[in-house]
Amino acid sequence: MKLGSLNEALTPILVLAICVIWAMVDSGRAVQGIDSALRLMTPLLLACLAGLYSERSGVFDIGLEGKMLMAAFSAATVAYLTGSAWIGLLAGIAGSMALSLIHGLASITFRGNQLISGVAINFLASGLTVLLGIKIFQLGGRTPSLEGAARFQPIELPLAETLRGVPVIGDLYSNLLSGHSILVYIALLLVPLTWWVLNRTRFGLRLRAVGENPASVDTAGVSVTRLRHAAIAICGVLCGIAGAYLATSLSAGFVKEMTAGRGFIALAALIFAKWRPWSALFATFLFGLLEAIANQYPNLDLGFITIPSMFMNALPYILTVIILAGFVGRAIPPRAGGEPYVKER
């Protein structure tokens, strides 16, 4: 076995090991915990895939956090006013797309600094959501809590009831996989879809090329700016779904700063996954698991040492720094990332 493939298998093995050990040590809470890890993973996965499209096209995006926050706010607001979670989802996507457009304008059209634009977008979202929230609802920046059809309700997968009796597989299927909101399944389906788009379509090939060597794409007669704008638009849609999921499914309404750094954890997961879709699934699930463990056991007692919850919360960031340092499987970003493309005249 090559060392490279071992490295790739590391995260899935780690994730599986954590799940199995957890199930053996404390099976009651493990099922509950892994179930919630799946829910906590969903916004991370969506935002991570969003960042993947943007960064594979050569546009850094540290504004994932802001776009998610904006989407969460607009989704919750519209879902409350219309009573429909689906219209809320559309509004969430629109809110996130608006910020994506600003990012595209600044970093592609005007060839500005992509990182600075991302920072600005994060602040813009953090200020505007509270400002508008107070203006519309007078609740100190919250939206009223959502009920009924204004939230995405859990759905039962087909055959979940019939398979419940089957040991192991039935348990996993009906207790863990079934009974989440539709957005969780959309997020999961987006992983193979993204893989397919990137590796099996013409658009995906060009997208990857424009992130590595935009001049070659330009020479081939394909517009670099149009491709990058398209990538950023996809990024906006996915961040929009992520934010809508946070506000209308994971919780029942918007609260101030509700993304709580998830955009940055998604960014960390993207590096952890080395900008690849399947690895993104495992990386975000790992980070979801860590969050679930920290929630279930505020002070994790391992017998010889007690791990405080703060450490578990910081672990995604610490792991990312270690990965970035290149000691365990070096992460190399798309080569043209962060560079505005100047067309030759």
């Binding site: 005007f110 602040f123 200020g127």
Partner: protein, 365 residues
């Protein structure tokens, strides 16, 4: 040949950018159904209309000078240090440890020692990202973001589990000894028989901040190290060719940058709260980005921009107090300033360049 005269580059472009940011802020205020003119008046009276207002404005400005200088020094080496927030938080820890565990009889002795503690902790927190950037090529923006979160978690742990006095529920350290309290400027004014800015937190750190601006100017434009930092910032191959070690200069620039961010703790932790509380930095590390961008990475510009943001901060507080405009308006203004002076710089610059070029052509003809 330059496309624009220097004054247009240094003054006109940022000025137009800032005006654009403010114009859109005014539209935002209009959109939430308030009067922008009234808002401006409230802010000016609240922040600049009395010595009380000035006391707060200058206190905030002191914070922003330090974090602005931090971003600026790194920027000259073309490193984007987003980690000012974490470095300033760690600087607070440095100050707290020094003041709580060393017997320091007088503030004149405590101040330099605490400054060393603050700068050392801030610099140490910048060291790992710097070293990883220099040696392993790990992108400093991502690592410093990660280190902000790690610092927050670490500080949370230290305050809750280690520094919290027995029996206290509040996640904060014990109060620092009375002898180490820094004199407020209002106390200094009182010794001269004047009443100025009573009950305001601005303290002697303000003078240190002004001094720091001057020293940074000396460092960047009048020393060998500053020259090497600027060369590296312009071109890494150029630096290598000139015999400058990119590793050494990257690490040094980030240590200075982290040190400045850490020094902010002298103002907010030692000077104001006089104990270490959770989230003492309150976003000042990020405002440093706006301040450095707006100040065109020059210490004097940083000083002016810090004053402006000090005014916005104090004025924003007053807005929340007297009108129904929430404090968060300031975050929007801050975002717009970063957007227009930083990311959308070319949007203002390109038409201006075209204008100056056509003016020059007409002059030649």
């Amino acid at each position: 040949m330059d496309k624009m005269p220097k004054w247009a580059d240094v003054i006109l472009t940022p000025l137009i950018s800032v005006l654009l940011a403010f114009a859109i802020s005014a539209l935002v205020i209009l959109a939430i159904g308030e009067n922008p003119w009234m808002a401006l008046k409230t802010m000016v009276t609240g922040a600049l209309g009395s010595s009380y207002g000035w006391g707060f404005t200058l206190y905030y400005a002191t914070n922003f000078i330090f974090t602005g200088l931090a971003v600026m020094v790194a920027y000259h080496a073309s490193l984007f240090n987003i980690g000012g927030e974490g470095q300033a938080a760690m600087g607070g820890l440095g100050v707290a440890l020094v003041l709580l565990y060393l017997p320091l009889p007088h503030w004149l002795i405590a101040l330099p020692v605490a400054m060393i503690g603050a700068a050392a902790f801030g610099a140490a927190w910048a060291f790992i990202p710097a070293w990883l950037q220099a040696k392993r090529g790990s992108h400093i923006v991502i690592t410093t973001i990660m280190f902000n979160f790690i610092a927050a978690a670490l500080l949370n742990y230290v305050l809750v589990n280690l520094l919290r006095p027995v029996g206290s529920m509040d996640p904060a350290s014990a109060r620092f000894p009375d002898a180490t309290h820094l004199p407020k400027i209002t106390d200094l004014a009182a010794t001269f028989g004047m009443t100025w800015g009573e009950h305001t937190p601005v303290n002697v750190t303000f003078f240190i901040a002004v001094l720091a601006c001057f020293l940074t100017w000396l460092l960047i434009w009048r020393t060998r190290l500053g020259y090497e930092i600027r060369v590296l910032g312009r071109s890494e191959p150029g630096a290598l060719y000139a015999g400058i070690s990119p590793v050494k200069i990257t690490v040094l620039a980030m240590l200075i940058s982290g040190g400045f961010a850490g020094l902010m703790a002298i103002n907010n932790v030692m000077g104001e709260s006089e104990r270490l509380v959770l989230n003492a930095v309150e976003g000042a590390g990020f405002i440093g980005i706006a301040v450095a961008l707006m100040g065109r990475n020059h210490p004097f510009g940083v000083f002016l921009a810090a004053l402006l943001f000090g005014f916005l901060y104090q004025g924003g507080g007053e807005l929340a107090l007297w009108t129904s405009i929430p404090r968060e308006l300031i975050i929007v203004i801050q975002a717009l300033v970063i957007l227009f002076t930083g990311a959308l710089d070319n949007m203002v610059r390109m038409p201006l360049e075209r204008m100056f070029l056509s003016m020059r052509k007409r002059g030649d003809a």
